[in-house]
């Protein structure tokens, strides 16, 4: 279902940026990308030969922040995986001084969304349905395609504000 919202990110297929000189790929997916050049490092959450493995995304991102502090021009960051994962990686990158020209994001795997309740500012992880109750304030939220790069989440807006208690049917759209 296309809601016609322009902030919905679109992703290009994975490819190594030939203008970079050092490349790091981080992924939360079980299969690593094919055909990477030699100057490429791969960090994953599951065992692959020749990659650095982290038990959780949190540990991977902590190591990433530390790694970036020692990098200079020519470094390129690639994140492949679910949207919450790749946007968290982008956030670590921009915090370290990378521009979005030096970061490329590629969606793979589940479409499950991180939804930001615009009423109580809580993030709800792993949302696969069009309507989701906020797990903090309880508001039934409509999951918009409106994506905030700053909050790294889709906006969830109370769906029954004008007709309290009357909700459209819940459908699984983002499995």
């Amino acid at each position: 279902m296309d809601q016609g919202i322009k902030s919905r990110p679109r992703y290009q297929p994975f490819r190594i940026d030939p203008t970079g000189t050092r490349h790091l790929i981080v992924t939360d997916q079980p299969s690593p990308p094919p055909d990477t050049p030699e100057a490429t490092e791969l960090w994953t959450l599951s065992p692959h030969p020749g990659t650095q493995i982290f038990a959780t995304p949190t540990l991977l991102f902590a190591a990433l922040a530390q790694h970036l502090a020692g990098q200079g021009p020519g470094f390129r960051l690639y994140a492949i995986g679910t949207e919450p994962f790749i946007w968290d990686a982008a956030h670590i990158g921009t915090e370290a001084g990378l521009t979005m020209q030096e970061i490329s994001l590629h969606h793979a795997g589940s479409l499950a969304r991180r939804v930001h309740c615009i009423h109580c500012k809580t993030n709800i992880e792993g949302v696969t349905t069009n309507i989701v109750p906020c797990n903090s304030c309880g508001a039934p939220l409509f999951v918009r395609d409106h994506f905030s790069r700053r909050l790294r989440a889709f906006m969830g807006v109370r769906v029954d504000a004008e007709t309290p208690g009357i909700l459209p049917p819940t459908e699984t759209l983002y499995a």
Binding site: G72, P73, G74, R76
Partner: protein, 309 residues
């Protein structure tokens, strides 16, 4: 100059900085205040000589936000197109000129983690206005210049907490570019050769375009004279060897937009209808060069060129 009204200015001070540099202070001649300009901005001065008019762009060196006076520094270029000689030899205190409002094609990148400024010679001028705006962000300024200019530039940089002047070939641009931390923005201003080699080095090291900022100056070099057919006006004009296509269009009293007059901003872009253009701009892409031309710097390889104006 169609974009915005001209501002009348009066020359209030002229100070020689050395044998070839002079600092010129301009005040509003109409009793009003100048627009507040940001660091990196330039203005265009209309210099009316006996035989021709020059419209030359100069970086403002006065502190950003100055509204009662603007200051520029002009290098005398004896073999240039004549604008700098006019400002060095003909301009006197009290004279009035027309000036375009300031335009900034070289602003400070606010999200930069560090500023790396590389200047050569008179290319230091836009950076002089940066000083008060750099705030807490770390920076490095490297200036390559002739030994004869060193004393004058050191005086201009006296209020900088630190800078590096190189009068011998000891500025190793590649090494400098290689050891910058993530988030550094690069600013280049100087002669074309200096900027080109620094930009090439930066790109080879993987600097992304968004972190390379360039201010082109020095004005258009001349070339072979040619004829321009102005299709929409139904006119045919001659472009002399020391004249730009834009100047020739203006001399024919045809109102053409322009801003930087250095091939950088894209304002004067015209549609190219026929001929073999000699593109010298830094704005259009290769594919745009097939159908567009920037008359402020570009010329013609063919004897005749046809443009849509």
């Amino acid at each position: 100059m169609t974009q915005s009204a001209k501002i009348p200015v009066r020359v209030s001070h002229i100070e020689p900085l050395n044998a070839s540099l002079r600092r010129i202070t301009l005040e509003p001649a109409d009793g009003r205040l100048f627009p507040a300009s940001a660091a990196g901005a330039h203005i265009q001065l209309e210099l009316i000589g006996e035989a021709r008019i020059w419209r030359n762009a100069y970086s403002l060196v006065s502190p950003p936000g100055s509204r009662t006076a603007y200051t520029i520094i002009v290098r005398k270029v004896p073999q240039g197109r004549g604008g700098s000689l006019f400002l060095h030899e003909r301009l006197a205190v009290g004279q009035t000129l027309n000036m375009s409002p300031p335009v900034n094609l070289f602003p400070i990148a606010r999200l930069a983690r560090k500023h790396l400024m590389l200047a050569a010679g008179i290319g230091v001028t836009p950076f002089l206005a940066y000083r008060t705006d750099l705030a807490e962000t770390p920076f490095e300024l490297h200036l390559r210049c002739r030994a004869t200019d060193q004393a004058a530039f050191e005086t201009l940089l006296a209020n900088w907490p630190q800078y590096h002047i190189h009068t011998t070939p000891d500025l190793h641009v590649s090494d400098l570019l290689r050891r910058q931390p993530l988030g550094t923005h690069l600013y280049l201003c100087g002669p074309a050769g200096f900027m080109q080699s620094a930009e090439t080095a930066a790109r080879a090291l993987g600097w992304p375009e968004a972190r390379i900022h360039q201010e082109h100056f020095g004005g258009p070099a001349g070339g072979h004279p040619f004829t321009a057919i102005l299709a929409r006006s139904g006119r045919t004009i001659h472009v002399a060897q020391d004249q730009t296509l834009l100047e020739a269009i203006e001399a024919a009293n045809i109102d053409a937009p322009s801003l930087c007059r250095g091939g950088a901003c894209g304002e004067c872009r015209l549609t190219l209808l026929a001929g073999s253009p000699d593109h010298r701009d830094h704005f259009l892409t290769e594919s745009e060069h097939a159908t567009s031309i920037m008359p402020c710097v570009s010329r013609s390889h063919s004897e005749t060129i046809t443009i849509d104006i």
